[in-house]
C-alpha cells in the first residue's frame, strides 16, 4: 500500500492520459465519429489528464476533493452508454457510429466498457487517496 500511497495519483494520471490519447486516436486517425455520450465522457476525461498530471508532477493531493466528481460523473455516463448499447435499448442509444465502430477487446469489452473501467478506477484511486 505504501507504493500505492506514493504512486496512486501517477497511476490515475496514466489511466486518464491513455484514455484521452486513445479517444483522440479513435476519432482523428481511425475516423470513428464520437457520439454525444462519447463527447460527454471526453468532457470529464480530458481535464483529468491535465489536472492529475500536474498533481502527480507536484506530488500534491490537495485538489482531490475538487476533482473527484469528474470521474464519478464520467463513470455514470459510461455505464449508461454501456447499458443502452449492449442491451439493445436502441431508442435511448446514441444513434451514431458508436454502435458500428465495433472495436471489442477480447470480443466482449467495447469502448464504453473500457471508458467505464477507466473512470471507475480513477475514481477509486482518488477515493482511496482523498484523506492521505
Amino acid at each position: 500500500m505504501k507504493v500505492f500511497n506514493r504512486w496512486g495519483i501517477y497511476f490515475a494520471w496514466v489511466i486518464a492520459s491513455i484514455s484521452s490519447i486513445s479517444s483522440l486516436i479513435a476519432s482523428e486517425i481511425l475516423n470513428f465519429q464520437p457520439c454525444i455520450y462519447c463527447w460527454f465522457q471526453r468532457c470529464f476525461m480530458f481535464p483529468l489528464a491535465i489536472i492529475l498530471g500536474v498533481m502527480a508532477y507536484k506530488n500534491n493531493l490537495k485538489a482531490i476533493p475538487f476533482i473527484i466528481s469528474l470521474p464519478f460523473i464520467g463513470a455514470v455516463i459510461a455505464l449508461y452508454q454501456t447499458i443502452v448499447t449492449n442491451f439493445n435499448f436502441k431508442y435511448f442509444g446514441c444513434g451514431l457510429e458508436c454502435d458500428e465502430a465495433n472495436i471489442k477487446l477480447f470480443g466482449i469489452v467495447d469502448m464504453s466498457i473500457l471508458s467505464f473501467l477507466a473512470f471507475a478506477s480513477i475514481f477509486l484511486i482518488l477515493f482511496y487517496l482523498r484523506k492521505k
Binding site: 506514493r6 491513455i18 475516423n31
Partner: protein, 210 residues
C-alpha cells in the same frame, strides 16, 4: 529527492505518450492507403503494379475538368498500352449526381469500351435531367438501351456509391476533396500525375532488368 523522482517519472511518461502519439500520427500519414476495386470502374491492366484510384463526383466542376482534359490523356498514354490499372471510384454528394453515377456504372457494365466516350460527353455537357443522359447513351454503341434505362431508373448502384463514400471518408478524413487521385496508395496532385507514373514505370523496368 523523493519529489524529484516523481517529477522525472511524470516527465518521462509524458514524453513517451507524446512520442507514441506522434509516431502513430506520422505513420498514418506516411503509410499508403489501402484500396480495392470492388465498387470501382476499373480499366487497364489488372496485374499492373501501378494502381491508380480516383474519387470523383461526375457533377462537380473540377471533376468534370479532370474527366474532359486529363482522363483522355491517361487513356492514350497508359491505358491503351496496358501500363497501369486505373480505377474510378464514383461518389455522389453534389445535387443530382446520383443519376449520372448510376448511368456511369450501367454503361461500364453494359459496354466497358464505351465508358470513356460517355465520360467525355457527360463532363462536357450540362446535364439537367435523366432524359439528357439517356440522349447521350442512345448515341453510344453496343449498349442495350432498355436494360440501361432500367438500371438507371431503379438506381441499382446506389449501394456502390455508399460504399465508395464510406471509403472516401475513411481515407481522406477531414481533408475530404474531389477529385482525389491516389497512385499506389499515395495522394498526388493532378499536375504531378505523369511524372509520378513515369517514375514508377522506370522503377518497374529497373526491377525487371534485375
Amino acid at each position: 529527492m523523493k519529489k524529484d523522482d516523481n517529477r522525472i517519472v511524470v516527465i518521462v511518461t509524458a514524453a513517451v505518450f507524446i512520442l507514441v502519439t506522434a509516431v502513430i500520427y506520422i505513420l498514418d500519414i506516411l503509410m499508403p492507403k489501402n484500396f480495392n476495386n470492388n465498387y470501382a470502374l476499373s480499366f487497364g491492366n489488372e496485374n499492373s503494379k501501378i494502381k491508380v484510384f480516383i474519387f470523383e463526383d461526375f457533377k462537380c466542376k473540377n471533376c468534370k475538368k479532370l474527366s474532359y482534359h486529363f482522363t483522355p490523356v491517361i487513356k492514350e498514354n497508359y491505358l491503351d498500352s496496358d501500363k497501369i490499372n486505373y480505377n474510378i471510384l464514383p461518389l455522389s454528394f453534389v445535387c443530382g449526381s446520383k443519376t449520372i453515377a448510376n448511368a456511369a456504372f450501367a454503361v461500364y457494365q453494359l459496354n466497358k469500351n464505351e465508358f470513356f466516350n460517355f465520360l467525355k460527353k457527360v463532363s462536357y455537357e450540362e446535364l439537367e435531367s435523366k432524359e439528357d443522359i439517356f440522349k447521350i447513351v442512345k448515341e453510344l454503341n453496343g449498349i442495350n438501351f432498355e436494360i440501361f434505362k432500367e438500371l438507371v431508373n431503379k438506381e441499382v448502384f446506389n449501394e456502390y456509391l455508399d460504399q465508395n463514400f464510406s471509403k472516401a471518408k475513411e481515407i481522406m478524413k477531414k481533408n475530404f476533396k474531389v477529385p482525389a487521385i491516389y497512385i499506389n496508395g499515395y495522394l498526388i496532385d493532378e499536375e504531378n500525375f505523369s511524372n509520378v507514373i513515369e517514375e514508377y514505370l522506370a522503377m518497374d523496368k529497373k526491377n525487371e532488368s534485375f
